[in-house]
Point group: C2
Chain length 349, copies 2
């Protein structure tokens, strides 16, 4: 068996505290400038265009900018721009493209149309010279360094941090800013979680599962399901607990594996209730949480450091999931840096 610690994926997962520290310092001014322009123009909603892991970051923006900043956030439907030539009107929106490479033509096309309509545009990208960045009025740079593993890890959490930085710049609450600035240290603690290699052994022959998160951690459900698909070839489907009750609950039989994202906060009672329902139908729960009550309902608990506010929890809850997907791929003797059939830059139209 190869040495996991020499892989790009392992290294990039463990670089995350350093990347976040760098980004929060370097992009504070750029986020403040964008916030000033959002206020000046009285922007009344946000449209985000993204694919893959960046689209999962967009889901975080959808909850954070709405809950903390009162901005409704919609996800763009790029085919209306590229295939149907029927772009909706953006009105007084901020149109935000998120892409680590900044290269996917469909995402660039959404920003190009936004610019044509005179809307405010911004890009969150790891490539400040990319076509996406060139199309944007404002750029938040991820400062993640080159990401060489195909599966995104550090650029995902960096994208969440860029969104959080913008949210904090918009409301200028010193308490929220302080919590954000403490985050890299908490991320390092979360990554020190031991025993995930042993946990992965248990799931060697799992062929399908679902991943459940809701509210702020709806994005985490999507991102963990994507990591499990990319890295381990498990058919892993993300769901909000509410949507899952409207039909997919029929999937659950004795031993059905479910990954549950349930950190402390306003969503926790709903997640506890959902876990009780799932257990009563025989599901086996792998639970990611900082809360003893949630962890106690797990067959396999993955514990997080305590104390982070719920709005920042997606930067932490994803980490045990990244480790789990990496170790599961390793347990299956797969190449964690090069999943079959994928390239680092995917260009879709």
């Amino acid at each position: 068996m190869s040495d996991l610690t020499t892989t790009h994926l392992y290294r990039e997962i463990h670089e995350q505290p350093a990347v976040l520290t760098r980004l929060l310092l370097a992009e504070r001014a750029a986020a403040a400038d964008l916030a000033v322009e959002i206020r000046r123009r009285q922007v009344d909603h946000v449209v985000v265009a993204a694919r893959g892991s960046s689209d999962n970051a967009a889901r975080y923006a959808q909850y954070l900018l709405a809950a903390a900043n009162g901005l409704p956030v919609g996800l763009a439907t790029p085919s209306l721009f590229t295939v149907y030539a029927a772009p909706p009107r953006f009105g007084n929106a901020l149109v935000l493209g998120i892409s680590q490479s900044g290269q996917s033509p469909d995402i660039v096309a959404v920003l190009a149309e936004a610019r044509r309509q005179g809307a405010l545009t911004a890009a969150i990208t790891n490539a400040p010279g990319s076509p996406l960045a060139q199309m944007a009025d404002f750029v938040l740079h991820l400062h993640a360094g080159e990401e060489r593993a195909i599966a995104a890890t550090k650029t995902y959490t960096a994208s969440l941090a860029a969104i959080a930085l913008l949210s904090v710049a918009l409301d200028e609450d010193p308490k929220r800013r302080a919590a954000l600035e403490e985050l890299p240290g908490v991320v390092a603690q979360a990554l020190a979680l031991a025993g995930v290699d042993r946990v992965a052994e248990r799931y060697r022959y799992m062929s399908a599962c679902v991943v459940i998160g809701r509210g702020f951690n709806y994005c985490t459900a999507f991102e963990l399901a994507l990591k499990l698909k990319e890295l381990t070839y498990t058919v892993a489907e993300p769901y909000s607990s509410a949507d899952f009750r409207h039909g997919p609950l029929a999937l659950v039989s004795e031993g059905f594996p479910m990954v549950i994202v349930a950190p402390s906060g306003k969503m926790l009672p709903e997640m506890l209730d959902f876990m009780a329902t799932a257990r009563s139908r025989g599901a086996e729960l792998l639970v990611i949480s900082d809360h003893p009550e949630a962890l106690a309902l797990a067959r396999v608990p993955l514990a997080l450091p305590t104390g982070a506010p719920e709005w920042l929890s997606p930067l932490l809850t994803v980490l045990p999931g990244q480790l789990f997907a990496m170790h599961l791929a390793h347990a299956r003797d797969l190449d964690v840096d090069h999943p079959r059939g994928l390239r680092k830059v995917t260009e879709t139209r």
Copy 2:
């Protein structure tokens, strides 16, 4: 083996032409009234709140009202209303709730907040006396009759038809109206498709698959995946072809089953290209299409009647999928009317 033709599900699937005929006639005036009010208020975007199959109908609205009527459509995030008590501002939106029962508290809560903010509200429901209908300024009634099978079929296509009726009322194009009014006859033709029972035998032991559709038929991918989950307990995950290329493509190995929704229209070249990629990696394709080129790429073709415009195709492409899910459930000796663990009305908060 029980007689499928005596089940509620079988009957309700085959009632669809009659339901659509009834709805298009009865709700034409209500759709026109709502369209007048949308124009009068100069509504500039739409927010849809829905769960389950109704949420898939919302995805149809997202493409149709944007592509045909220039209205940007966002999907509501109900937990911002019910859990986080941080509802976004609706501005000058139409807020549309879709629910066959009209009862789910989270969907009603979104409309209640919209009304509080003074936004225009509408409901698409099969229950005109329901809490959702009572909260709405305008109601489009599905006229589907009682739906007794747990899995929604006739209320799903009726919801699509209600959205199409609104779209036609907004632009008053007689050609589009004529195409819509011809639809029930085409639906009847599509439901006459023979041999789906034999097709289902092939998939008796399929445990997981993906369902691919993009643009207008993004909704169909979601709805077919939901039917396969509810009725057959297959882990079936929906994807747009573009999103699937950004990571999940790694899932595909020799024989991996994929359901592809690829009717004629502007999206067809993209779907043909995607099918070629999937086949080159060994995927086995079940293809729903009216187009010979798409059907020729299938291991298992499910043919549709030809001639319908792409914007109405979601009312047709779902039908072979409903039949397939029903026959697959039957091949597995499952109760097609009562999937395990589900009730007809699901109340989520």
